[in-house]
Symmetry: C2
Subunit: 247 residues, 2 copies
């Protein structure tokens, strides 16, 4: 019998995890989910995420799928999993899906948000969820630089060397904008897909533009070089949230 496919929407605080993806000798979000599903259903199943998130990166809405031979009601599955999972991972939605649904392959776009606390002092309650930048950042410059990056480009200059074969470093960046409210700055990035450490590289670059280290007019030169250099630092993980996955 064909097993039932389930889609889950998951929120997690990445602080205490070695990222999403299963790896030996480290606790990961995928591992916690697979353990909870096994404990609740008695079935060993692989949880497929929409993509991996790195160590310390958070998710407001990550999406994953898995298959079960038992067919619990989604609402019961959600409640049961939340009862077993630690408080830093919550299932916010569970749905039955056709077997053609695939959390990674069916994605049409993803949104990440990178949060910066731009003030002298970091409030203790935000320290794990915001990146602290003390130099005042110029939002207009950051938005000007961002405007050169929206479109379909080779983003190799804004990706870390992943030590793995990537078929293409071309991505369609649909939206990249910077908003400020009080001391909080958020970089909103939407694309059909992101390269390894791409959002943190974009954030690292935009912070350097915002503090005046790089003029926004140099953005196109850096982009078209298609080469990662020290001018594009990787911003720290704590400010990054996988915000939404669209199908």
């Amino acid at each position: 019998m064909t097993p039932q496919r389930y889609k889950i929407t998951v929120s997690y605080d990445g602080t205490d995890y070695a990222g999403w993806q299963l790896q030996p000798n480290h606790v990961t979000v995928q591992q916690q989910l697979e353990t909870a599903i096994r404990n609740i259903s008695g079935e060993t199943t692989k949880v497929h995420g929409s993509g991996r998130t790195d160590q310390g990166v958070h998710a407001r809405k990550q999406v994953a799928h898995f298959d079960l031979h038992k067919t619990p009601a989604p609402q019961s599955l959600k409640k049961g999993l939340n009862a077993l999972l630690p408080g830093n991972i919550r299932i916010i939605k569970a749905e039955k899906k056709d077997p053609s649904f695939h959390a990674r392959k069916s994605t049409t776009s993803k949104e990440y948000r990178y949060f910066i606390w731009n003030a002298e002092i970091m409030p203790p309650f935000l320290r794990k969820y915001r990146t602290h930048v003390t130099n005042p950042l110029d939002i207009a410059s950051m938005n000007r630089a961002a405007s050169y990056l929206v479109g379909k480009y080779d983003f190799a200059a804004f990706s870390a060397n992943p030590n793995r074969v990537v078929q293409s470093t071309v991505r369609s960046l649909k939206d990249l904008k910077i908003r400020k409210k009080g001391n909080e700055i958020v970089i909103i990035a939407a694309a059909d897909g992101f390269l390894y450490k791409m959002v943190r590289s974009l954030a690292g670059f935009l912070i350097r533009v915002g503090d005046g280290s790089i003029p926004p007019t140099e953005t196109s030169t850096i982009l078209s070089s298609a080469t990662r250099t020290a001018r594009v630092p990787t911003a720290p993980p704590e400010g990054l949230f996988l915000w939404n996955v669209v199908y």
Copy 2:
């Protein structure tokens, strides 16, 4: 020579502390401050808080004073202490004060805020800063009950047995109101001073009023009994913030 008195305004995440007050074999906020001050000034000094906060309770603005024979500029002292303190404690202000200033005795009023997340699922990022209540709470009932409590009363029914002699259990509760925005409920309490676990007792009681367990009209009976009973539970510490101290 008379030492210089300093007033500091301190924000802390109480999650990993056994409260404010120094105690053997436990890490406390007072201890972290005294250690940092000793390391920066070479002087051993006692830090006097406006009052203690319990294990797991947070402070947006706690106030404390201490004396030093060296007289560093407040701005340097603040920067130096923040460089030495862990990120879960931040000095947000430092000031020189006349020796007559006393962080506890000079207080004219204090404000606490108790935060509740009233929804089925607790967002992972708020779990250490909000108390999770799944039953829908009725704000109008809670505000009606609160209206009976504002004034100068014996609050013995809303205080834990402190195992210590308290001269009086009479306090002037200046304000007690409940606000709701989305899934977040906040109980705002201001008084000339609070008894041991008074805010968490008021919160525990108001939650029971909000979920319909206790009619608001019984508030005066409970208050005038001046006896703590099981009808007034102590709400958990993670939702509680020392919000402001007024001089």
